[in-house]
């Protein structure tokens, strides 16, 4: 099961953020002025499991007002309800030392609160900055894809609340079909930059929460296909580098101790301190 978030019809109402907090009893972070458009949530973290991004791309027309304005078409102000991607190859799961991060029967990625010991390794690994540390509970927290609601036969709170159906919930195969049709439709309307993100396996083996974007992924703070790399890529080279250095270091140490001895053996004036 998963989400298909169609950003082309997101209106930035934040109903998803509110519904998520209501259902999951999240207090939210203290309100602050972020100086970032209409966004005062800031980022995904332990208190924000959905975050509506506001990306302003209004062109600077040097004071000239065009009529009709050339920014029409929904591409001047991009909105996107961001969430855990429930990656098929999940960076967070790779590094979690306690196995608190697990894959559920719905193919989603879930943190077991009673297993997590708050080491925060998953935070360093998630390429999307999804996971946050809950100071009160002392553990890592993120979207559960409403695991409890799924067990009760309900859809996730955010998808239920979204008034434009920008957030769609369902079986991944069905969502892929919906997404393909929508993309084809947008392309015929001339939206050349419209693209699906996480629909195929090129990004972390496919995302169970995937997106239709109106611009390139980096604009939405998502790594491009080329940059979507797993932490484990550095395991082998990291250890090889460590072992090679250790071997060179040991040889250097032996050389120092042995050559020093030869000098010392020739040096009869040396006395113990």
């Amino acid at each position: 099961m998963g989400f298909f978030t169609d950003t082309s019809i997101c209106i930035g109402c934040k109903a998803c953020e509110v519904a998520c907090k209501e259902w999951n009893q999240l207090q939210g972070d203290p309100a602050k002025f972020t100086a970032d458009s209409y966004d005062n949530t800031g980022q995904l973290d332990a208190q924000n499991w959905r975050h509506v991004q506001f990306i302003e791309q209004v062109p600077d027309n040097n004071g000239v007002v065009f009529n009709p304005t050339p920014i029409a078409g929904g591409q001047a102000w991009l909105m996107m309800s961001d969430v855990c991607k429930h990656c098929k190859n999940a960076s967070c799961m790779e590094v979690c030392p306690t196995n608190a991060l697990m894959r559920t029967e719905y193919d989603t990625v879930y943190i077991q609160n009673d297993v997590c010991n708050g080491c925060r390794n998953c935070i360093s690994a998630c390429p999307y900055g999804v996971i946050g540390f809950n100071e009160e509970k002392g553990i890592a927290q993120k979207c559960t894809l409403c695991y409890d609601r799924l067990q009760g036969g309900l859809q996730p709170a955010c998808a239920k609340a979204c008034p434009t159906e920008s957030i769609k919930f369902g079986y991944i195969d069905d969502l892929h079909k919906v997404a393909d049709d929508r993309l084809a439709n947008l392309k015929t309307q001339g939206y050349a930059k419209a693209q699906l993100y996480g629909r195929d396996e090129k990004v972390y083996g496919g995302l169970n929460a995937f997106f239709l974007l109106m611009d390139k992924p980096e604009v939405y703070k998502l790594p491009s296909e080329a940059n979507a790399t797993l932490p484990s890529r550095n395991n082998l080279p990291g250890y090889v580098g460590g072992v090679a250095t250790a071997v060179v270091g040991l040889i250097a140490g032996l050389l120092a101790f042995r050559s020093g001895r030869m000098n010392a053996n020739n040096n009869t004036t040396t006395t113990p301190r």
């Binding site: 973290d45 960076s91 790779e94 590094v95 030392p97 306690t98 196995n99 077991q112 297993v115 997590c116 010991n117 708050g118 925060r120 390794n121 935070i123 360093s124 690994a125 998630c126 390429p127 999307y128 900055g129 999804v130 996971i131 946050g132 540390f133 809950n134 002392g138 553990i139 980096e218 703070k221 790594p223 790399t229 932490p231 484990s232 550095n234 395991n235 990291g238 250890y239 090889v240 580098g241 460590g242 072992v243 090679a244 250095t245 250790a246 060179v248 270091g249 040991l250 250097a252 140490g253 032996l254 120092a256 101790f257 042995r258 020093g260 001895r261 000098n263 010392a264 113990p272 301190r273």
Partner: protein, 294 residues
């Protein structure tokens, strides 16, 4: 390369662990080299190295535990409470490191018991001391050295196995850089201790100076590789700016290690160069840990 990961807020406790873990592993390796490189006059320095290794190791699990959000659940690093089996994940350097720390703790503790018996602090473990100087001791110390050096290296790999700027960009260099700097720092610390103990042979101190110089050269090469990798990834700016202050300490530490045997350095107070070298080791780890997370 663009990164969108959030920082894990690994800060002072982790810096402390990386420093003491490096010194503990590095000292153990030097103790083994000193004991088994064949000269009986190096033996007192070897004992100092094994004692230092264990004393430096003691704060490590304490720092790691305090840093957890749920310190009382530290044992979840070793026991998988979701299925009752062992929590052992080869893909996770933190998991491997937890096991390595436990195993190295045993090696370091036994070698410590042998060393304190031989210096006369605790005669009850005399037998261990004698056993560790023979062939069995060589095998024991060699295996302990592997785990000790693993402790030095995996802390760098732990950072690299992430999606953080700087850490993941440095790929294969961080583990090696931490090994080299741990060896350099340990040699500097042993030198400091050797100079303060009358029973450590003066020639051993001279040999430690040479070793420290070699390790510092190795560390310099790896730091250069680290910077080149960051430049290629386009994230070198993150380790510059205000972090120059720490770079100055790193460079002073390296210079102190490199120049220890020069005529000029001989006029410094004997503790100056080793202390600068140790500060450099601390500064390098602080630089890597903090710059990536700001």
């Amino acid at each position: 390369m663009e990164h969108f990961a959030s920082p894990p807020h690994w800060e002072w406790w982790i810096l402390g662990y990386f420093f003491f873990g490096g010194i503990s592993g590095g000292s153990y390796a030097l103790g083994t080299l000193l004991r088994f490189s064949g000269n009986a006059r190096d033996e007192s320095a070897a004992r100092v190295a094994f004692i230092t290794s264990f004393i430096a190791l003691v704060p490590c699990p304490i720092f790691l535990t305090i840093d957890l959000g749920q310190p009382l659940l530290f044992w979840h690093m070793l026991v998988d409470t979701s299925n009752g089996g062992l929590a052992f994940k080869p893909d996770s350097p933190m998991s491997l490191g937890s096991w390595a720390l436990l195993i190295f703790g045993v090696f370091s503790f036994v070698s410590f018991l042998g060393a304190i018996a031989e210096v006369g602090w605790f005669r009850a473990t005399n037998g261990i001391g004698r056993a560790l100087r023979g062939a069995a001791g060589l095998v024991w110390s060699a295996i302990g050295t592997v785990f000790g050096l693993f402790i030095c290296a995996y802390t760098g790999v732990l950072l690299a196995v992430s999606n953080q700027a700087v850490w993941s960009d440095a790929g294969w260099a961080l583990g090696g850089m931490f090994v080299a700097s741990a060896l350099a720092g340990s040699a500097a610390l042993l030198l400091l201790l050797a100079r303060s103990r009358r029973d450590v042979d003066a020639d051993t101190a001279v040999r430690l100076e040479s070793a420290d110089r070699y390790f510092a050269i190795l560390e310099t090469i790896l730091i250069a590789i680290f910077l080149v990798l960051l430049a290629i990834a386009g994230t070198i700016g993150k380790v510059l700016g205000v972090w120059i202050v720490l770079w100055v300490l790193v460079i002073l530490g390296l210079l102190a290690s490199l120049a220890m045997r020069s005529g000029a350095a001989r006029r410094w107070p004997p503790v100056a160069a080793p202390i600068l070298a140790l500060l450099g080791v601390l500064a390098l780890r602080a630089l890597v840990i903090f710059s990536a997370q700001t």
